[in-house]
């Protein structure tokens, strides 16, 4: 049984498309990235998964529970961290977290609340309205993990957190994942996906354009090439070269293809210097975005 499954899931707002025909699954214990530019449909997919939106067609399930027909059972095992944090302003963090615990039927959650608040350095007795956005986010993180969910759904989780807290958050995720918690990680910050995820799906204009292992994406034979020629000349670039920029005798481009072809081509040039670097995940995914 997979942790999360999407089966040809579509959501339309009238004639406007939110997502269309989303079809993939996330294995139990996996840390799965969900990447796409703003407005691509990431939040629509997550909101449909959580029952906030009604699907136009298709279905989705969490740990085998259909999110429409068995939404309660599905959500019982899910921790959700929204991108925008809106809580009851009149409550303190402690009241909110106790309220959350009550809704999950947790009777003695105080100790766990204290532990997590200490870990994230959150003042529990200040009204939520008085908290900074970063502190509200910490409160949101605590409510997402407090009831020890089996699946964590995170929508742009690090917004508002300083680098130190981001690191603590990632350490918490890693420790939860070691205990078997599945993490569905939606973000546009690719370095986070690169750090945390095993696989990732790319969504663009409401449709999934790629699902890849992060390691295989990183090992794709794409290179960033920077070279300086002896003379200012026009280069004739063979297949596999992209994003070429030049200033005088200096040239920068990306290359996708067999390395020996690149080396053979470089050997034919009148070079002063050449630098080959591995692209970061961002460059790789920009290719998907631009397709």
């Amino acid at each position: 049984m997979n942790a999360i499954e999407f089966h040809s899931l579509s959501k339309f707002y009238g004639k406007h498309r939110g997502i269309e025909g989303i079809d993939f699954s996330v294995s139990k214990g996996e840390v799965f990235g969900f990447i796409g530019p703003n407005g691509a449909g990431k939040s629509t997919a997550i909101r449909t998964l959580l029952g906030l939106l009604h699907p136009s067609s298709g279905s989705a399930s969490i740990l085998g529970h259909d999110v429409v027909k068995e939404g309660v059972q599905a959500r019982l095992k899910v921790g959700y961290l929204p991108s925008e944090v809106d809580f009851y302003p009149e409550m303190t963090s402690r009241e909110l977290l106790e309220y959350h615990a009550g809704l999950y039927g947790i009777e003695k959650g105080e100790k766990r609340i204290e532990e997590l608040a200490q870990y994230f350095e959150l003042a529990l007795d200040r009204p939520i309205d008085d908290l900074s956005y970063g502190n509200k986010k910490k409160c949101a993180i605590i409510q997402a993990v407090l009831h020890e969910p089996e699946v964590l759904i995170l929508d742009e989780p690090t917004g508002g957190l300083d680098p130190f807290m981001q690191n603590r958050f990632f350490e918490l995720l890693e420790s939860l994942n070691k205990k078997g918690v599945t993490v569905f990680f939606s973000s546009h910050i690719l370095s986070e996906i690169q750090r945390m995820c095993d696989r990732a799906a790319v969504i663009r204009e409401g449709k999934i354009t790629a699902i890849e292992d992060i390691s295989s994406l990183l090992s794709k034979q794409m290179k960033k090439v920077r070279l300086v020629l002896k003379k200012e000349t026009e280069l004739s670039l063979p297949d596999g070269f992209q994003n070429h920029h030049s200033t005088g005798s200096k040239h920068n481009f990306d290359y996708v293809g067999p390395t020996e072809v690149l080396i053979r081509w470089l050997a034919e040039q009148d070079l002063i210097d050449v630098v080959l670097t591995e692209p970061d995940l961002e460059s790789i995914f920009m290719n998907y975005y631009q397709r």
Partner: protein
């Protein structure tokens, strides 16, 4: 349909300040009316004379007649119909209009609806909390009205008092259910106070105009006030069980329709 205790008590807590303020206003107003009755009753003949100088239609529209000044229940009924049911209706209807939609407007719907409860449980629980608030404001007002009657009046026609309060309860419940229904069709970002006040005052004035002007008496049929008498006419005031049952059934239908609308609503964020 089930309810959630945690959510129910949280809703009561969340609305307690508003309930306390509105209940205090209604109780203070009730006591004020009853406390000034002895002064008016001493001027009974003058007031009756003044009444007879008023145009008949005007007095009828405001629910005044000779009986208004001759007994505490007549005096109280004039104000109960015009002010107290309106005030209670505005409070419970405005709370009804926002009790579900407020979560969406404030962005907290995302928190609430992603907990392990069905939407039906959430909406049912909120309706039960709303019913409790209505019961609190209504029963507190009734309690202090009984107290005031005993303190400031004598020979109270309790049968009339009970009738007025049964009818008042049905009216307030009807307005609350209507507000729940219309709010389920509107954007949660709207301020519902205007439509709520408009609905309640509109209903009252439609009935008043219908009573005052025979040519447009048909207007009364579209106001719930038409079906439930709040003042004695020719010394008679009886519970109209037929209208009470009809309006309560309509209220339940409106609540059920509002409930169904909220279940289908998308939370776009």
């Amino acid at each position: 349909m089930s309810m959630n205790r945690t959510l129910y008590f949280k809703e009561l807590k969340r609305n307690r300040k508003n309930t306390l303020i509105w209940t205090s206003i209604v109780v203070a107003f009730t006591f004020l009316i009853l406390s000034i009755y002895p002064s008016f009753s001493q001027m009974g003949d003058q007031m009756t004379e003044l009444m007879s100088s008023l145009p008949e239609e005007y007095a009828r529209a405001l629910g005044m007649d000779e009986g208004t000044w001759s007994s505490i229940i007549g005096f109280y009924s004039t104000y109960y119909g015009i002010y107290i049911t309106l005030l209670m209706g505005i409070f419970t209807a405005s709370t009804g209009a926002t009790i579900v939609g407020k979560e969406e407007r404030d962005g907290t719907a995302e928190f609430l609806l992603t907990r392990p409860m069905t939407r039906s449980t959430i909406v049912t629980t909120k309706f039960l909390a709303l019913g409790t608030l209505l019961a609190v404001v209504y029963s507190t007002q009734t309690f202090f009205a009984v107290l005031g009657m005993n303190v400031f009046g004598d020979d109270v026609l309790w049968r009339h008092f009970v009738t007025m309060h049964v009818h008042g309860f049905v009216l307030v419940s009807f307005f609350t259910a209507a507000a729940v229904l219309f709010s389920s069709f509107l954007s949660p970002k709207l301020n519902y106070m205007g439509p709520v006040v408009g609905m309640i005052f509109g209903s009252f004035f439609l009935d008043a105009i219908a009573k005052a002007t025979e040519q447009v008496s048909w207007l009364g049929y579209i106001s719930p006030y038409h079906y439930l008498q709040l003042q004695a006419e020719s010394g008679s005031l009886e519970v109209n069980w037929g209208s009470c049952i009809m309006l309560m059934i309509l209220s339940l239908i409106m609540l059920k329709a509002g409930h169904a609308r909220y279940l289908k609503r998308d939370i776009v964020g």
